[in-house]
Symmetry: C2
Subunit: 328 residues, 2 copies
Amino acid sequence: MGNRIRIGIAGYGNLGRGVELALAQAPDMALVGVFTRRDPATLQLHGADVPVHDMARIAEFSEAIDVLILCGGSRTDLPEQGPALAALFNTVDSFDTHARIPEYFAAVDAAALRGQRVSVISVGWDPGLFSLYRLYGEALLPVGATYTFWGKGVSQGHSDALRRVPGVKNAVQYTVPSPAALERVRSGECPQLSTREKHTRDCHVVLEEGADAEAVRQAIINMPDYFVDYDTTVNFISAAELQREHAAMPHGGHVFRSGQTGRQTQQALEFTLKLDSNPEFTASVLVAYARAAHRLSLRGETGARSVFDIAPALLSPKSAADLRKELL
Amino acid sequence: MGNRIRIGIAGYGNLGRGVELALAQAPDMALVGVFTRRDPATLQLHGADVPVHDMARIAEFSEAIDVLILCGGSRTDLPEQGPALAALFNTVDSFDTHARIPEYFAAVDAAALRGQRVSVISVGWDPGLFSLYRLYGEALLPVGATYTFWGKGVSQGHSDALRRVPGVKNAVQYTVPSPAALERVRSGECPQLSTREKHTRDCHVVLEEGADAEAVRQAIINMPDYFVDYDTTVNFISAAELQREHAAMPHGGHVFRSGQTGRQTQQALEFTLKLDSNPEFTASVLVAYARAAHRLSLRGETGARSVFDIAPALLSPKSAADLRKELL
């Protein structure tokens, strides 16, 4: 163990598994335990030789863990777990309900200040890395326009919404950026783009036995918030095809900042992410920010932080001098 | 003036002019003076209504300026000015001689600590923004490879080298990334690329009256460090064509990080910059980091910093709460 940063994982789904794998690439960090609400005896880890504990006992480990990485979902797990665990541990999480970030930040901040811990919230790629690029773009080119495109990739939220439609047995939804819109933005023309113009939505749906395909299609394409504002295609496929062709979780996207400096000089930044596994990449980002949280805590800092508050050097295991020499 | 950050410009070439223009886009900052080694009476600013002072008198202004932006060159100006001015002012500079950054950092750090000031060194896009992307890429995908490509754009250093060749009256050099190499990197194959495979160099040269074109071409393509390791093309053109077609200073490039998470899962980041004016963009970056330097100084921090040490939120005029709400 030596001086390695002691990491705990709270919640062991796709993201928790990704964190376990990402920690194997971080020689300065060590996984010391996994916490689950399932029966710990039933959990099969992906190679790490560490104990699995019942989540109910997590408070007993508050001195044995340097940073706890929260791998629960944003809809029901994190709103409760985030503040509760921030009072006991340094934490990092991937809370991604954009509209509720201010209230979540406030709740976690209060708990972390009370517990004298550091919590980095909303870490991942959006919110996370894409947020950083939006900030850098706007700060460096204050006169201009920012565009975020997502995909092509699987949206978990939209796939879940499909599965709640009566008659749907299983489904996967891909968010696809419109090539024409991407081209217009890339050209620097700074277009006004409607929601419909920016992305299309491709649904692959397995019907329940006897379900009415056209009724399901209508229910999907007219679903408020999720689909009605988009051009949505619905493909009905077999369970076998869904399993064979759509089991991976790729994602990615683009952040653009097009701006003008001086007298109408065009300047453009583009950031592109191409991920074969969304949860594994999100997990890698969480692990790097766990390193930062530990370092902030060692300095005596307390409270909630976002990626905006973290100096980039804190993410790397290298020394400041090595970073300047090798990467600056 | 109000509470605006008071900015001084030291050195008024292309970069200093760019800073003047960039400050016009920063409502929280105010230019208060320009310093030059030329006769101040001969300097024509680009619209700012501020005094121009002799650089020799700059020490008199150490309490009247919150951050001094150093706009001299890296070859002869900054190695001397950087440490000297860091003892008197909070400074930001674009020192870009990569190999000499460690010693420059040490000299500026010692001076800034002595003067209890903050200095952010090597700000711009490379070193600067590209350095940040290299760091983020490596920290978030620790198993992988990083590639930096420059161009297509005008390299000032290589253009200067051309102008030192006997028989050359004037010249501009474009650094051009190889499309084949870009494609291989973008595909995720993580190739080993030689210097010659990554970039080509296009030279546009105006000959002195009576110069021997073939001798000039040979002198260029065999020049050590600058050209011999590249496929270099030399075009001889008229002074009028050089002025008409090659007076702009576009630049840009790409930073790639291709990595593997988990068990051979491919993940890729690409960052692209397309600049119609290299000095104007560099100036915009300097201005954003001047804001950060001022804030660090207000907190009581002292010493040298690089872009790696600056939390992104410090670059934006927006509050932390607004940033979380609007950009996270």
